[in-house]
């Protein structure tokens, strides 16, 4: 019979890492010490192994917890990938006391896609092309009731939709001397080019143009338009694809009308 969980099961007093620093895999490992049959019990979940690479158990099994999309810098090694450590970043950016100051240039506390892109370009130039950005959906504000389950968490569109809660809560995990620090990032990092091509996480239903984008393109001033064009990034594909399709439909409608009117 399974014993009731104690605080120290997940928060060992001698643990050297805070929960913020734990990856999805490390968080899952805490649960699977008792719940070893988790893979079998999630056969209903398509791409089970892939989901368990980028999610922790409490992403679903604690519905009232706050979830976020967490990014971190990793480096490809002979055996897989490893996180960049604080020392790695400090060696690369000796000009700043803390990597956060090197990234958040305007000091507003939020890393824009442009700021992250600039930082990442410099990081790659120094650390090599093996550096990329890993992403995961993790709990950032825990609610310790893990008994509650809701049917909604089994609906794919709860996460695979632009309305998923973590799009409003995106962070970069920066290694610091004290452990790890979460720095808020703008959601445009997912589409900004060339940055987004280095992010090793994609969710179906994530990117598409919105009506507001079209309105900004047509009705905002030159500054707003320039900003939109920068932010669109990968979403350009929707603009081009749907624009060309609309153009073709218009041309064919005109052609068909002319064929009908000018019947030889």
């Amino acid at each position: 019979m399974m014993k009731a969980a104690k605080c120290t099961d997940c928060h060992p007093p001698h643990g050297i890492k805070s929960y913020t620093e734990l990856s999805a895999q490390e968080r899952i490992a805490k649960c699977t010490r008792c719940h070893g049959d988790h893979a079998d019990r999630h056969r209903w979940l398509p791409n089970t192994a892939l989901h368990f690479l980028h999610l922790e158990c409490t992403s679903c099994h604690s519905p009232d917890s706050r979830k976020g999309m967490i990014f971190e810098f990793v480096r490809r090694t002979a055996t897989g990938k490893e996180r960049l450590r604080h020392e790695d970043l400090m060696v690369l950016f000796v000009e700043a006391a803390h990597p956060k100051a090197s990234i958040d240039r305007d000091g507003d506390g939020i890393v824009s896609s442009q700021e992250l892109s600039d930082f990442f370009v410099r990081l790659r130039r120094t650390a090599g092309k093996g550096v990329s950005i890993e992403g995961a959906i993790l709990v950032t504000g825990v609610h310790h009731d893990f008994t509650a389950t809701r049917h909604r968490e089994k609906e794919c569109a709860t996460c695979h939709s632009r309305k998923a809660p973590f799009y409003d809560s995106m962070y970069l995990l920066l290694p610091s001397a004290e452990g790890g620090e979460l720095v808020q990032v703008e959601d445009t990092v997912l589409s900004a080019l060339p940055l987004s091509l280095s992010i090793n996480l994609i969710l179906l239903g994530e990117e598409k143009i919105r009506y507001s984008d079209l309105r900004r393109l047509l009705f905002s001033g030159p500054e707003g338009r320039a900003e939109l064009l920068r932010e669109l990034g990968l979403r350009w594909i929707d603009f081009v694809g749907l624009g060309l399709a609309s153009l073709l439909i218009g041309l064919f409608s005109l052609h068909a009308i002319l064929r009908w009117v000018i019947r030889p």
Partner: protein
């Protein structure tokens, strides 16, 4: 109707099977791209249908390759020739101008030469570039962990997504063009009928006048007349 059919039975079955799969793939793709457009109910239904229709479409592409390459149909019907460059211009002029004046289509399909120069260009791009791109990126997406090396080689997950979605939009544009151009036959439905029964209906063209001549050469001088096996 006597003689070899313009579209053999195997090609007709393949065509309509493929058309159904492409339609299903595009409709499910709409829901994958915009989950709030719940065409197939739950999002999981759209994912399942898209994945399995994709596997069927990959099989359909393999069948097409095995059918047209060994038989020589690929070189005969699809491969553009130097003479097709002027033919494309002539065909475009016909669609933009000649057909409104009652000119005869400068190209008349036969079992040995089925596609006009514009069709050849579009079909060869679709079947040698867009379809393989769509099939292979789709297969990689079907098991991201298994194909992770290939995906990294392509530039990562988001580059893979970009390529797959670009191929999808190319299919959307192609489908719009294909369906509309299929209405430009002797009658609006004659090309659709030909793809169902296999034969073109020459009698339906009887009302059309002689082709409008271009400055370079008359339409009548074009085209091969020898009969070759149908495929």
């Amino acid at each position: 109707m006597t003689g070899a059919p313009l579209h053999p039975l195997a090609i007709r079955i393949w065509h309509w099977t493929n058309a159904s799969l492409v339609l299903l793939l595009m409709l499910t793709a709409v829901q994958l791209r915009a989950p709030e457009v719940a065409i197939f109910g739950k999002f999981g239904n759209a994912v399942w249908l898209h994945k399995h229709a994709g596997f069927c479409a990959a099989g359909s592409f393999a069948f097409w390759l095995l059918y047209v390459v060994p038989s020589g149909a690929f070189w005969r019907h699809y491969m553009p020739r130097a003479s097709d460059i002027t033919g494309m211009w002539r065909q475009a002029i016909y669609y933009a101008w000649g057909m409104f004046r009652g000119a005869r289509n400068p190209f008349s399909p036969t079992p040995s030469r089925k596609f006009d120069p514009l069709q050849k260009l579009v079909y060869i791009l679709m079947m040698t570039l867009v379809t393989p791109l769509s099939v292979f990126t789709g297969i990689f997406f079907s098991d991201i962990l298994f194909f992770r090396r290939c995906i990294e080689g392509l530039g990562g997950l988001r580059a893979l997504d970009l390529l797959h979605v670009a191929a999808g939009y190319a299919f959307l544009l192609y489908t719009l063009v294909h369906i509309y151009m299929a209405t430009t036959g002797p009658s609006v439905l004659s090309y659709f009928k030909a793809m169902i029964v296999g034969h073109d209906q020459p009698s339906e063209r009887a009302h059309l006048r002689a082709p409008v001549a271009l400055p370079s050469e008359p339409f009548a001088s074009r085209g091969r007349t020898e009969e070759e096996p149908s495929d």
